[in-house]
Symmetry: C2
Subunit: 398 residues, 2 copies
């Protein structure tokens, strides 16, 4: 089988890599940022705008789509790509994180998790097999194993047992995925199989997830165990869940050496702009984060020197764009003062413009990082960027 991931180059002074991930629906240049399309839509942004932003891949949240509109509806429309009119790559998560963070009444057993969804309280059950089945129905190009996401802080013993169950679940996900691919390849195609769903199923990449809390040795063990199962890519889960930044870095640094170099590494749920560069330096290739979109809806914009809260009175008469020399559609057409007016007036265009700018900022940051890795200058770039960037409280992920 052709390898889906290729390392094109590495940095000398850090573990940064330049890579290319090939999926059925397109190529992703890494390091890459994935805008989050939680409920089948990247909040406030149209598919056309995503293409204009040069987003190469987006993320879909399986839990949210499972709850609403439901799998039957999405299958009826021929899968998530068709439903939301995005024909580029999609990575779906397993649903695990939201089940552990959003739903009520969770009963976790070896089998899986019983829960009541947060919208209407209907009971449901997820298992490794169901997570694979569900993501196959959605038709994502990259799917994730079901993992147990432990809270922060967690006791050592609990983290250890949980990481071991995550490994057993990962094995079941792998087996369910192989079974599915095999049976799909064998059965005759029918009229109800859209070309799209056949495409997805045959070429779906499956990533395993490393857990272990903030404990270095558990992270190492989890990484080794997951790698032994041989996935198409490896994610670091259970980070950025409220732990101090140093512990987050340590969790990644403890796992990374045991992840194969020739597979993509995905730091789930990360991060702020400086954190992305720090993670790239630690050998991570892929990221997803709601910060650029969520903070936009709060009137906050990202720039090279930190965030701006555009609601502040200081911007009322500011004729400048959000960021000088930014080529996004917000900065090319609109002033800070106008955007501030829109935000204060609760006009939808305000949050649209900041969202477009923030996504452009994140995607362009990855673009710059990729270029700097190619040029061998990523470490200088990272140090200069981080030194220049003033982190303010509003970037704390809620």
């Amino acid at each position: 089988m052709q390898k889906s991931f290729e390392v094109l180059g590495s940095a000398r002074e850090s573990k940064a890599r330049r890579g290319r991930l090939t999926t059925a629906r397109g190529i992703i240049d890494t390091p890459a940022f994935m805008p989050v399309g939680t409920q089948g839509s990247v909040k406030g942004v149209s598919p056309r705008e995503l293409r204009e932003l040069d987003a190469q891949i987006i993320l879909g949240n399986t839990y949210h789509l499972f709850v609403r509109p439901g799998l039957d509806v999405i299958k009826h429309f021929g899968g998530l790509h068709k439903f939301m009119n995005w024909d580029g790559p999609i990575l779906t998560d397993s649903g695990g994180y939201q089940i552990f963070s959003l739903s009520k009444l969770r009963k976790i057993t070896e089998d899986g998790v019983e829960f009541q969804n947060h919208i209407d309280g209907a009971r449901a059950f997820i298992s490794p097999e169901i997570a694979i089945e569900t993501q196959a129905a959605l038709g994502g190009d990259i799917v994730m194993a079901l993992d147990e996401c432990i809270p922060y802080p967690s006791e050592y013993d609990y983290a250890a047992q949980s990481a071991e169950m995550t490994t057993r679940w990962a094995k079941r996900c792998k087996e369910a995925n192989v079974q599915r691919s095999t049976s799909n390849a064998q059965r005759p195609t029918s009229e109800t199989d859209s070309i799209n769903s056949q495409l997805s199923t045959l070429n779906q990449l499956l990533f395993g997830i490393v857990q272990g809390g903030t404990f270095g040795d558990l992270r190492k063990q989890s990484a080794q165990a997951i790698v032994e199962l041989d996935f198409d890519g490896y994610a670091i889960g259970g980070v950025s869940v409220g732990e101090p930044e140093e512990e987050m870095m340590r969790a990644v640094e403890s796992a990374e050496p045991f992840l194969p170099k020739d597979k993509p590494r995905y730091a789930m749920g990360l991060g702020t702009p400086p954190q992305l560069l720090e993670m790239i330096a630690r050998g991570m290739d892929m990221f997803d984060c709601v910060l650029p979109t969520r903070l936009a809806r709060n009137g906050t914009a990202f720039t090279d020197t930190g965030t701006l809260n555009l609601k502040n009175a200081e911007f009322a008469r500011d004729k400048r764009p959000i960021e000088e020399n930014c080529v996004c559609s917000a900065c090319r057409g609109f002033s800070r003062g106008y955007i501030r007016h829109l935000v204060k007036a609760e006009e939808i265009l305000g949050l649209r413009l900041i969202t477009l700018h923030n996504l452009h900022f994140y995607l362009e940051l990855m673009n710059r990082a990729r270029a700097e890795i190619e040029r061998g200058t990523i470490d200088q770039f990272r140090k200069a960027f981080v030194a220049n960037y003033k982190t303010r409280d509003e970037t704390m992920i809620e």
Copy 2:
């Protein structure tokens, strides 16, 4: 002075006309619909999308902009066009309607109106002269006289006195406007005059407004008095304020015969799709209405056969576009089922898509009406459209 309005053709069986209105920033083909940009933004829509919809002119609400962000801010940014990044024609209203409908503590005298704005209660005062000055600062291409908008229902005597004061205010608006144009033409241009503001002031069209409540004779008298003052166009104000539709029609029919044929007629605040066609048949040329944008945000879409409430369960699995054969960007890319999902999930893209469809529907209806007038078939078109269109309760303007 060159005439700004030209009648290109008329219907035989009704008073419908095909016209062309020339402003400093562009031509408006009439009959025309003006999307409403209440707070300096057509809700949910970007200027690029307005251009793609072929909107030729939009409306700005002077009252709202006066309250927030305030005139100083807009002047600082070089006028409303620059502030909102729309370089096409803008019609601004005088502020009268919102002062009478939204603000608190109104004291109406011959001089003007004292009020407290609805956002922070700050006291302010508007007069005919201030209304002209304010609209000059905004830089609209078409500005409106300040009128007194009476509630429905109103007693005959009150309606009569109010209409007479509206006429006296109209005269003061005209004089203030002439004075302003004269003094601007005479004074040397300075660096602080943007080319834009010079352009607006020299070429601003001023429309007078006919009042008179639901009383036919008062409407006639008001029309005659306003016309005698010689404005660039004539609006029918104080309609669609809660009165039955027949009374609205009668109000227009009572005034129209006394409006000159060679000036544009603007039915303020109208209407539903059938109402627009009925008004066109009664000799109206221009319309503004929040229905297409407001109902979109409630999940309601317009079609040739009436409105659809896309939140309804019946659309959950509907793969069709909002309207078959509609070429708007929503119908070309998205299904009813997906849009319904977005609306139920409170995703911004949902209301964006319905808004784009609804504005396209309204603007295309005007486009069709113009073509039918040119072909001499407008009356058949109107009858067929009205017969086919099922009005439902949700189209009642709140």
